[in-house]
Homo-oligomer: 376 residues x 2
């Protein structure tokens, strides 16, 4: 057994489903799954019910997270047609603003130029005087994170550049998209991006085998698209999972489902999957640490928790199985896959929070980032 | 009677419908209508049948125009999913490349990022060494002109900026759009734009009265959108008509039509409508000359024909009537409107081509721009 110590990881893209979908996940089960994957900080998306679109709803979500989380949680506010930019007064308490410009789970898609202009302009105006954390400041606002596929990607790039707002493009999947982001970066545009393990390790050729358990947004892409992600690894700033749990019944596995919702869990399988890629020589360990720890902290301006680390037995070889999963949904699209590397222990701020396959921290041990009154 | 002399005008956006739709218009009837409106140069769009997407189809269209036109004609090539960028070898013989990213008459709409990248990249590569006419060169390529409404506008802005291709946005209609173009211009992006007389002078409040005769793409916009165009007159580089004739039968006026096609004629009513706006104090005569002559020649790198001018009786007051129209479709959405200013005479390269309400030039008097072998 060879144990290595890694910095506590960040999953900058998770859906912990609370409030509204607690039968899929909640702040306890989702952060427990995070710890099992060596993740000590998650950034939670706003497409809950109700969506996180107002100061009150952000405060409510922060209170829920503060009571239950066993790892640290940052919360996105979301752009919606119903609340518009009502989140602005508390913009600095969010890890960033999420805008859905493409088809997704839920109903937050924005389809109007004037609304998009409003969201970018008002985020930029709100940052006046306090700046953006993404530019190295400890305070200020986070970036605008966008689900922007296909032609929606240049929409967001143009608005980001014209209104001078840092843009983070979540779960990039296509050759056209990663090449466009590379072109924008080469010209100094303020853009960063992420890729998920499932889009890096699966393709449309796996879709038939996986059925609803391989259906997410963006969909699994073509092998050429997957190859483009690997060719442009230097353009991918970070890895994040888009952890999006739905129950096996909702997915049509243990019950009839006419329209299974898109989305797959991932927060607790990211690290072993990536370490397996390291074992196979496709990534270096530094690639993983940079993209799962340093880059997300830099891009979102997340504080580094002191005395925090993850111990991994890199000799452990085992198969991922649904029964091992701590996510409430209880499955993984990678079930049956052999992986290298097992998280054996997680320490957060000097406290052992995970060991021997079990969460040892009490609910509420995690902090809600950018919410000083929630810190103890 | 007070006669003033104007430079020969340009209508940088017309659909002369040949080949494929000669029952609506052809190169003779369309250019005759142009002369009646003081227009000595028209730029013809590629959404004919077949579309102008290959060297052979451009040559065929040039030959048709050379045989029939009574004013000068520039021809766009068009981006299509069927011919892709097959036009590239003759790119310098087109006045520009037209891309439809939004809903229009015909079926040339492009909806994929990888295709859009291909069109912008390959146009940029083709310009290597020969440059763009839009940058003051006599030779080179024209701009990429786009029908890009709403979110499709920032798509084109981003691709134009990232691949360094001059962009011309046709028929801008919305506040959001003109404000975004203004923002891009303020930051030095290579973009120009146009507005049509109908979008400047009509609004959605006229749509019910006009029925199918007031239906075009983009649709008539809200009064606030129209006000935004006037507020941002300095951002509107040129006026062009999007002259898009359909017969009264097709429009459902003289026959049953379940789905009248969008589009209205305009090439011969632009000047009197704009002179009426001058009379009303909404524009200056210099505004009109800049936007209907100098700017389109500069943006598209069009040669100025020597010894060419238009004589206008600015005291003439009359009503626009369908029966006066020289366009084959024989109607105008402005029928019944009182206007100031009548074209009395047009001289092209020293030759009187229009006088006393009649075209005096023979078919073939007009030249096909950028096609040296068609010039006599």
């Amino acid at each position: 057994m060879t144990t290595i110590r890694l910095p506590g990881l960040v999953d900058a893209h998770v859906h912990l489903r609370e409030p509204g979908y607690e039968h899929k996940e909640d702040f306890y089960s989702g952060t427990a799954a995070a710890l099992a994957g060596g993740v000590v900080t998650v950034l939670d998306m706003p497409n809950t019910v109700p969506p996180t679109g107002t100061p009150e709803l952000l405060a409510d979500k922060a209170q829920r997270a503060a009571g239950k989380a066993v790892c640290d949680v940052g919360l996105f506010v979301g752009a919606t047609t119903s609340y518009l930019d009502a989140y602005l007064p508390v913009a600095e308490r969010a890890c960033g603003l999420k805008i859905y410009v493409s088809d997704t789970f839920g109903s937050l898609r924005i389809e109007s130029l004037s609304l998009m202009q409003r969201f970018f302009r008002s985020w930029a105006e709100r940052a006046e005087g306090i700046g953006f954390r993404t530019r190295g400041a400890a305070a200020g606002l986070g970036p605008i994170a966008v689900h922007a596929e296909e032609l929606m990607l240049p929409v967001c790039l143009a608005l980001s550049k014209l209104y001078d707002v840092p843009l983070h493009v979540v779960h990039v999947t296509r050759r056209s998209e990663i090449e466009l982001i590379r072109a924008a970066k080469e010209r100094g545009w303020p853009v960063t991006c992420e890729a998920t393990p499932h889009h890096l390790l699966l393709s449309s050729e796996d879709a038939a085998r996986l059925g609803p358990l391989g259906d997410m947004r963006p969909r699994l892409a073509s092998p050429d698209d997957v190859a483009a992600l690997w060719e442009n690894l230097e353009t991918i700033d970070l890895f994040a999972t888009d952890h999006a749990p739905h129950t096996l019944a909702e997915k049509g596995i243990t019950a009839q489902a006419t329209q299974p919702p898109p989305g797959v869990p991932g927060v607790e399988t990211m690290l072993p999957l990536l370490l397996t890629a390291v074992h196979a020589g496709r990534l270096t360990l530094d690639d993983v640490i940079e993209r799962c720890a340093h880059a997300p902290r830099r891009i979102y301006g997340l504080p580094e928790p002191p005395e925090s680390y993850v111990e991994v037995d890199v000799d452990a070889v085992y198969r991922l199985e649904d029964g091992q999963m701590k996510t409430r949904c209880g499955w993984t699209p990678f079930a049956g896959q052999e992986v290298w590397g097992r998280v054996t222990r997680v320490v957060l701020r000097g406290q052992e929070v995970y060991a021997g396959g079990e969460v040892t921290a009490l609910p509420g041990t995690g902090r809600v980032l950018f919410h000083p009154e929630q810190a103890r």
